[in-house]
């Protein structure tokens, strides 16, 4: 199932972050790699997982490999639901804080 692969790909915080960045703007693998405290190879591996879930496409441009988001409606929806879930996690933390204050 494509959707399962999508959720697997998005289960990792670094991959979610990479996807968020390339949704905003296409980027080279090396530019992405500079943004994380991990090796180029590790970032490349994350990109490959996103690629196998068809969330991004890689394109050679001169010496650079450019990563672009490639989201059909369903994959896009999966990615977005994932981001929306993050918002709810924050909300639940917020409610927890309020409940802890005055009981």
């Amino acid at each position: 199932m494509v959707v399962d692969r999508v959720f697997h790909a998005l289960a990792d915080a670094t991959r979610r972050d990479i996807l968020t960045r390339v949704i905003r703007e296409e980027q080279s693998v090396s530019a992405l790699a500079r943004g994380y405290p991990m090796s180029f190879a590790a970032v490349q591996k994350h990109v490959a997982v996103l690629e196998s879930a068809s969330l991004v496409v890689k394109q050679r441009r001169g010496r650079e490999q450019i990563v672009r988001a490639d989201l059909t409606a369903m994959r896009r929806a999966a990615a977005l639901l994932d981001a929306y879930e993050e918002l709810w996690r924050h909300r639940v933390q917020g409610i927890d804080r309020i409940l802890q204050e005055g009981s």
Binding site: A13, L81, Y84, E85, R89, H90, G94, D96, R97
Partner: protein
């Protein structure tokens, strides 16, 4: 404890959380606008509710203020209330005056609170109209997530 279920085809997100507080207390974080606005917005987009009619047919108006002062307006229209167990409402985007705009999608929300042991289980189900609508909705949240991630990277690099 938090669990969620995403139904991509039907564009719904079911989110279940448990709180160590009685149902009536958790109900208050929805009912009281001063408590509600402390958790509704994403972390650096705090919400301000300047209207909150917590009754069937009642409407709310709120805005969320971003780090650069940008205001994002939203509204609620309450469609069902069974205090302190069930709340249903529509949540939509507002124009710059905070009034509802029909151009963008409306989220239908169903919130249920039930006793679970000494605490409360809260289930929220969000129904979205289409993926575009969802995209609008998470844009701020994603930017926020990105900023948080960047901050963490800065911390790591700063101490390296």
């Amino acid at each position: 404890m938090v669990t969620s279920h995403k139904d991509v085809e039907n564009l719904t997100l079911t989110f279940v959380a448990e709180f160590p507080a009685p149902v009536g207390r958790v109900w208050q974080v929805w009912e009281d606008p001063r408590q509600l606005e402390r958790w509704w917005g994403p972390p650096t987009w705090p919400a301000t509710f300047d209207r909150h009619e917590f009754t069937v047919g009642g409407e709310s108006r709120y805005y969320m203020t971003g780090p650069d002062g940008t205001k994002a307006h939203g509204w609620w229209r309450i469609t069902a209330i069974d205090a302190p167990h069930r709340l249903e409402f529509e949540d939509g985007f507002g124009d710059q005056h905070g009034e509802p705009t029909d151009k963008l999608g409306v989220t239908r929300m169903v919130v249920s609170l039930e006793a679970a042991g000494d605490g409360t289980r809260m289930t929220t189900v969000s129904h979205f109209t289409d993926a575009e609508h969802l995209e609008q909705l998470v844009k701020m949240g994603m930017e926020e997530g990105m900023r948080l991630a960047m901050g963490q990277i800065d911390d790591v690099l700063g101490t390296a």
